[in-house]
C-alpha cells in the first residue's frame, strides 16, 4: 500500500542552519533514500523549492485565479516528500520517524487512494 510522507518544516529555521549542518542532514536524507530503495519501499521523493517560489491556482466559474504564494500561510511549510510502499500504517510511521526533518518539523503520513 502506498503512503505519501509530507515533510513540513519551518523554512526560516532551515535557512538559518549552518552549511555544514545542512550538508550533514542532506547526507542523512540520501542514506534514508538508499535504505528505502534497498528494502523496495521507495517509490519517489524530492525536496521542494521554498514557498517563495509557490503559485496557487484556482478556477471559479471558468475564471482562472493565479496567486503568488503557497496554499496557506502556516507556521511550518511543505518542504519535501517521500512516496513509499509500506505494509501498513505502523510501517509507514516507522519510516516517517527516520526522516531527519521529523526531529525539527512534522511529517504528515497520508495513504494514497488505490
Amino acid at each position: 500500500m502506498k503512503y505519501i510522507l509530507l515533510i513540513y518544516h519551518n523554512e526560516k529555521t532551515w535557512n538559518a542552519i549552518s552549511d555544514s549542518d545542512r550538508q550533514q542532514i542532506y547526507g542523512e536524507y540520501r542514506k534514508l533514500r538508499d535504505q528505502l530503495r534497498d528494502s523496495g519501499q521507495y517509490v519517489d521523493g524530492s525536496q521542494l523549492q521554498p514557498t517563495t517560489t509557490a503559485t496557487s491556482v484556482r478556477v471559479r466559474n471558468a475564471d482562472e485565479l493565479v496567486i503568488d504564494g503557497p496554499f496557506a500561510e502556516t507556521h511550518e511549510q511543505l518542504g519535501g516528500y517521500f512516496l513509499i510502499d509500506a505494509r501498513n500504517l505502523d510501517d509507514a510511521i516507522a519510516i516517517a520517524t527516520r526522516i531527519p526533518s521529523a526531529r525539527m518539523g512534522t511529517v504528515e503520513v497520508r495513504p494514497l487512494v488505490e
Binding site: M1, R87, N88, L89, D90, I93, V109, P111
Partner: protein, 421 residues
Amino acid sequence: MPRVAETLERVFREEHGRIIATLIRLSHSFDIAEEALQEAFLSAAATWERDGMPRNAGAWLTTVAYRKLLDAIRHEKTKTDKLSQLEYEAERLQAQEEFAQSDDTLADPDDRLRLIFTCCHPALGREAQVALTLRTLGGLTTAEIARAFLLPEPTLAQRLVRAKSKIRLARIPYEVPPVESMVERLAAVQAVIYVIFKEGYSATAGDNLVRKDLSTEAIRLGRVLCELLPEPENFGLLALMLLQDSHRETRMNEHGELITLEEQDRSRWDRTEIEEGIRLIETSLPLGRVGNYQIQAAIAAVHAEARTAGETDWPQIVALYKELIRINSSPIVSLNHAAAVAMSEGLEKGLGLIEEVGTNRKLHDYYLFHAARADLLRRLNRSQEAIEAYTRALSLTTNCVERGYLRRRISEVTNNQKLKT
C-alpha cells in the same frame, strides 16, 4: 421468558469483545464483524426462546456469527465481482471446510489483544479510542456510549464511523505491537481504560446508570487486560480503579455534595474491592517494574488501610509521592506531595511547598492549586486568606459539584471567623 433475555444480556456483555475480536481478524472489517455479531444475537434471542439455552452460549454465538460473517463476505464478493462465480464456489467449499472445524480453532487467544491495541492506536484521537473500545470490547451500543458521555448520539456515531474508516483506509494494522513499541502502546491502552473509569467515577447522583456503569466496565476491561498481559502496571491500573471505586458511594452525600476523603464514612467503603486492590498491588510492586499506576494504587491502598482519617500513615504517603515525582514529575503530583507533607510534617511546611509549586505559572489558573492552598490556610486559621483562595478556586471551575464544595467551605470559614470576633 425473562431468563433468556437476561442470559442473553449477560452473554452479550461477557462474550462481545472475544467474539468480535475474532470476527474482525477473519473479515478485516469492523463493520462486517459488527453486523454478523448483531445478527447472531438476534438469532439467539429467537432460537433460545424456542429451543432453550444451548450448553455453551458463547460457542453457539461464535459459530452462528461466523456463519453470518461468511455470508456477508460472499455477498460482498459477488457484489463487487459478479464474474468470478467459479472462484466464489471454490471459496464457499473452502469456507465450509473451515467451518467444520471447532470454534477453538476459529478463535486465537491474541484476538482480543489485537482488538485492544487497534482501538487504542495512537493514530486515533483519545475520544475515538474511548468510543471504539467501549463499542467493540465493551459491547455498548452507540446510544449507550453517547448517553454515558452526555453527547448527542449523531456526534458519537460520527466519531465511530470516522475512526473505523481511518483504520480501514490508512490501514492501521490488526496486530499486537512488537516488543520495542509495547511500553508506549500499552500506556495508551491503560490511559483509555482509566479515562473510561474516571468518567464513570465522576458521575453524580442525578446522572443516568449507564454513566455510572462506565466505572464497572473500565474495571472489567482492566481485568481482561491483566488476564491477557499480566504486566505489573496493568495490575497497578486495576488495583487503582478498584481502590478508588471502593469509596464511590461515599464520595458524595445524598444532595450530590462532594465529601472529602477525610470526612467520608469509612464503614461504607467496599471491603471486597479494597482487599482485592491491596492484594494486586502487593503482588505487583515486588516485581520491580514500578510505574505511575502502581504508585497511585499504593497511595490509595494506604488511605484504604486507615480505619479513621486520623490513622492515615502520612509519612508513607509522602514517600510514595516522592517516588511518583521521581518517575513522573508534574506540578500536580508536586501539589499532592505538598498536601501530604502538610499532614505529616506540619501545615506550615506543606504550605511553604505549595507556594514553591505555585511558582510554576501553569498552576495559576488551576482550581485544585488554589483549593489545596485554601485548605491549608483554613487549617492554619488564616481565615481571610483561606476565603480569598477558595474564592479564586471557585472562579476557575464550572463543575457544579466542585463549586458546591468550595461554596460550603467559604461559608464554613466565614462563620468561624464571625464566631471568633
